[in-house]
């Protein structure tokens, strides 16, 4: 379980301030929905969480330690597009994360280790409902299936934090609801912290335990450059709680017996 602390973070490109003075304390296991108009810097914030970009000022802490300055396996990600590798089948896409860590030089596994990785990947694919499509290439999958594959691929690394950048923006509503259910189930099971950028307010309130809105406070044209967006709303969603930590859940289960 990971506590995320954002301390006084600013992001400035040249003389354009994008984000200013972001301070957040995120409970372990939260599902954070980030909303706001286009260009308000919510994707920039996600890229800083990812380590793809560094804050111009301030810092982001995971459990009290500063983030790695580059992407690493403790933070999984699903983008709106290009999240999966087109030259690998669904199964190969999911196995990849296991192969990287176990085989530094070849980046491939053989024999019994390959069989073990394959079994684990197949479990994960079944979890997201892709058990029937393991040998298909991404271009043969529908948009919803590709995003489910991207989620499976990220979760095989058991990240502490899952970052989602408008992951369901291109999906039609029926498919979207389906993927929501899968995501909520995996979030509860894995006990990770999720950050999701979305344009869709109803999606934000449906999934999030906390909805955070970024927006510009000063909007006069001459002020647009010097002042960036900041947190304008920070709402806990009623009736939703962070799921109990797995270790506590185990203790409770033992106690019940």
């Amino acid at each position: 379980m990971t506590r995320v602390t954002v301390e006084n973070v600013w992001k400035v490109y040249g003389d354009q301030t994008v984000l200013e003075n972001i301070n957040l304390e995120i409970e372990p296991g939260s599902f954070i929905a980030l909303v706001g108009p286009s260009g308000c810097g919510k994707s920039t914030f996600l890229r800083m969480m990812l380590g793809d970009e560094a804050p111009s000022r301030g810092r982001i802490l995971l459990d009290g330690e500063e983030l790695d300055a580059e992407p690493s396996p403790d933070r999984g990600v699903v983008f709106q597009k290009y999240s999966v590798f087109p030259h690998l089948t669904a199964l190969q896409n999911v196995m990849l994360g296991l192969e990287f860590v176990a085989s530094p030089v070849m980046a491939r596994l053989f024999g019994s280790r390959k069989r073990a990785a394959k079994a684990e990947a197949l479990d994960m694919l079944t979890c997201v409902g892709l058990g029937h499509a393991v040998h298909k290439y991404p271009s043969e999958l529908s948009g919803g299936m590709q995003q489910r594959l991207a989620i499976a691929q990220a979760l095989i690394k058991k990240p502490k934090i899952l970052l989602l950048d408008e992951p369901f923006g291109a999906l039609d509503p029926g498919i979207r609801a389906e993927v929501h259910e899968i995501l909520l189930r995996l979030w509860r099971d894995e006990g990770m912290t999720v950050f999701m950028v979305t344009h869709d307010l109803s999606e934000a309130f449906k999934l999030g335990t906390r909805v955070i809105a970024f927006d510009r406070v000063r909007t006069r044209p001459e002020e647009m450059k010097a002042y960036g967006a900041t947190v304008t709303f920070d709402l806990k969603v009623d009736g939703k709680s962070v799921p109990p930590r797995p270790e506590i859940r185990d203790v409770l289960a033992v106690a019940a017996q």
Partner: protein
């Protein structure tokens, strides 16, 4: 009346239209050849079919009187081996430098401008230098082909590598991949089919450099033969040789395209 841009020929018409220019050129040649030969039966400029057929038989199917070898076969083997080695070397260099240049900022900072300038040097202008350094043997010709097309392949592949969506590279890192692992599992497999595209596009230039090198200093090869025969105005040999080179080039291109289709099926699935 529908607009021209919206009107599609059906299969039969398309096939006929495809043949039309070829047939037109052959007919034009026959008419011109007939006209010249009727004035002067010894005309060498546009030989008739029987003269050409006799020349093909002499070059391809009868052993040469002096050396006892089949000239067309021998020329084809020398030219294709020079071309093959040159293109293979250029592909290897282009693949390695292109991918590193497209992926690794420090490598790009070091070599981008350099390969850019190198690619502006006209390869034929350095041919004399190659002859001086490597002598008049096989090496200079192979080097010319390799040097001629490698800069293009490097730059093409570097651009293709840069076009790999940033998201994919980020995703690989979140899966724990090192730079080497990203090259091995993400970049190289996706760039191999692009590399084949680059090689296909540069084959025309490769032939140009090969024939130029053979024309200047050689004792065998398709380009050597054509330029040798030019001294005798032997159009009956030159024309079939040009046709043969064209056929070889076309076949190579087709073979690469087929190989790409078979070896990289993921590119053609679904979409």
């Amino acid at each position: 009346m529908r607009r021209l841009i919206n009107r599609q020929p059906d299969v039969v018409v398309r096939f006929g239209l495809m043949l039309l220019p070829f047939v037109a050129v052959i007919i034009a040649y026959m008419i011109a050849s007939e006209a010249r030969l009727s004035v002067n039966p010894n005309d060498k400029l546009l030989p008739g079919w029987s003269t050409i057929a006799a020349a093909i038989e002499r070059m391809a199917f009868l052993p040469d009187q002096r050396t006892g070898s089949y000239l067309l076969l021998q020329d084809t083997i020398s030219s294709l081996s020079r071309l093959g080695i040159g293109v293979a070397v250029a592909t290897l260099i282009g693949g390695i430098f292109g991918i590193l240049q497209g992926l690794i900022p420090y490598f790009r900072a070091t070599f981008n401008a350099f390969t850019g300038v190198l690619s502006m040097i006209p390869p034929l202008a350095v041919l004399p230098i190659l002859f001086i350094i490597f002598g008049l043997g096989e090496l200079a010709k192979v080097v010319l082909v390799a040097v001629g097309i490698a800069p293009f392949i490097i730059r093409d592949l570097a651009l293709r590598t840069e076009e790999i969506p940033h998201e994919e590279i980020i995703k690989a890192q979140t899966l724990g991949a090192s730079t080497w692992q990203i090259i091995l599992r993400i970049v190289v497999p996706q760039m191999l089919p692009r590399l084949i595209d680059g090689v296909r596009l540069s084959l025309g230039a490769a032939w140009l450099f090969l024939i130029a090198a053979e024309a200047i200093a050689s004792d065998s090869g398709l380009g050597y033969r054509i330029f040798l025969m030019r001294r005798y105005l032997a159009m009956d040999v030159i024309l079939p040789y040009v046709a043969w080179i064209t056929l070889l080039a076309f076949t190579l291109d087709l073979a690469l395209r087929l190989f790409q289709r078979i070896a990289f099926r993921w590119m053609y699935r679904g979409n």
